[in-house]
Amino acid sequence: MNKELLKGNIAIAKAALNCGCNCYFGYPITPQTEIGEYLSKQMPANKLAYVCAESEIAAINMALGAASTGAKVMTSSSSCAVSLMQEAISYASSDELPIVIVNVMRAGPGQGYIFPSQGDYNQATIGGGNGDYKTIVLSPSSVQECIDLTYRAFYLAQKYRTPVILLADGLLGQMAEAAELTENPYPEIDNSNWRLDGAKNRPSREIHSLEPDQNKLNRHIVKLYQKYSAIEQNECDYEEYKTQDAEVIITAFGTMARYAKALCNHYRNKGVKIGLFRPKTLYPFPYKRLNELSQKAKIVIDIEMNMGQMLKDVRLAVLSNAQVAFIGKPVGDWLREEEMINAANNILKERYASI
């Protein structure tokens, strides 16, 4: 293996180039600026389009324009500035444009600060744009996954002609780990039947979300939802850790899931049958699998670096199968192992005298 020490941000940028991203539009914001910084050197040198836009609104709309011509497009930003992109994400969903949007989360609400946080789960999975649409959301928890899921983000965007959000966090963006820049494992998707590349010798095409004919608009949205249904059917992805016999299931996403795994190890050593369920796709959320696991469980503890956003999806999956508890902290220093243990002890002590 050919591993190198890579920052999460640089890993995302390298993977994007490696799988053929040929247009990047962005505007600097901590903690994701290294993505643009890296690409600003590499892309012009390789005759690829790099634009440092005048704002995030401009950047995402440039992305829409470029994607409509069939380019492989990425933009990246962070939390408060991804808020500015919500209108365009709604448009891109209706226009069926494959764009990859990287959100390296910082603290909110409002401007917040550059501390790491997982406060954009709702923004990413529910979306802040208007109308009926959904956005695929992928959640890496290591630098290696920043690479793997960037490849996947481009692939799914092209495959389903829909925007995909790669939801990382400030800790992952800034930290370096040993990772391998593997080959892109996904096939190229042919877009010659829809892209706008000049109508010479063929009938003209249009891409727009405006549709004054009620019936046509209804049909369009139903078609979008058939696509979402296929995505929900085919693309749920998750990691399970020691869930085989678990009576206690921890749910966590992104970097927080690593700390949650340490918590599992701590309680396994004390004889508690505990395991971790980590969704790698936040939309589509793996409801079915978590429901199955919760049928054998007594307690599900959701751990997040926010005030409980994935919690509602966990509850929807678990239903009344098991008790659902939450451990969280909104921003800043990541929940430390000892903080999690203190909080989890309070939840578990009634059932497990051994802890």
């Binding site: 591993k3 190198e4 020490l5 800790l171 800034q174 930290m175 370096a176 780990e177 040993a178 970097t255 690593r258 700390y259 795994k261 340490a262 190890n265 220093d333 990541w334 430390r336 192992e337 000892e338």
Partner: protein, 179 residues
């Protein structure tokens, strides 16, 4: 076994450079490793630190309440990070820029005049590598080959500095032995 380190100082002292080199040495030694930088808005003069974790197994907790070894390259970082040293852990202090003062009795201290030692080598900017040498001596039996590889990688755009820094690393490495 998990080992963790904080390297701290001010911008321009090469805190992140030796942090990256240390992380690379661990990577080349086939360990799992994480490196997190932390700095203010200033490029020079502001406070800088980084945390490095190394383990034989997958690293789960990347930020820790306390660490095994702290390197403090100036007074401010000595004052700030002494509380982050684990019980029985070690703090390596640049005594050229920080007063020798033992406020805790449950940790080990290594005071070394890194800046003066670096000046003796003819380059003040190698104080960080002397600190890394001391840290290496009390941490692990790194292979010399991996240390050289890490320096060559990180300083690939400043080739003329590689030899001087490796020399400084060994001044640090042999520092404790000599005393």
């Amino acid at each position: 076994m998990i080992r963790n380190f904080i390297i701290s100082g001010s911008g321009g002292q090469g805190v992140l450079s030796i942090g990256t080199i240390l992380a690379n040495i661990f990577m080349l030694s086939d360990k799992f490793v994480s490196f997190i930088p932390c700095y203010g808005a200033e490029m020079r003069g502001g406070a800088v630190n980084c945390e490095i974790n190394a383990s034989d197994e997958e690293l789960l907790c990347i930020q820790n309440k306390e660490v095994d070894i702290v390197v403090a390259l100036n007074q401010t970082s000595f004052d700030k990070f002494i509380s982050k040293v684990k019980k029985n852990g070690t703090i390596i202090v640049n005594s050229s820029l920080a007063k020798i003062n033992k406020t805790r009795d449950d940790i080990k201290y290594i005071f070394a005049p890194l800046t003066q030692e670096a000046l003796k080598l003819g380059n003040i900017k190698t104080a960080n590598s002397i600190a890394l040498g001391i840290l290496s001596k009390i941490t692990d039996n790194f292979s010399i080959e991996n240390v050289k590889k890490a320096y060559e990688k990180i300083l690939k755009d400043k080739k003329d500095l590689i030899q001087k820094n490796i020399e400084a690393y060994f001044v640090g490495y042999n520092y404790i032995q000599e005393r």
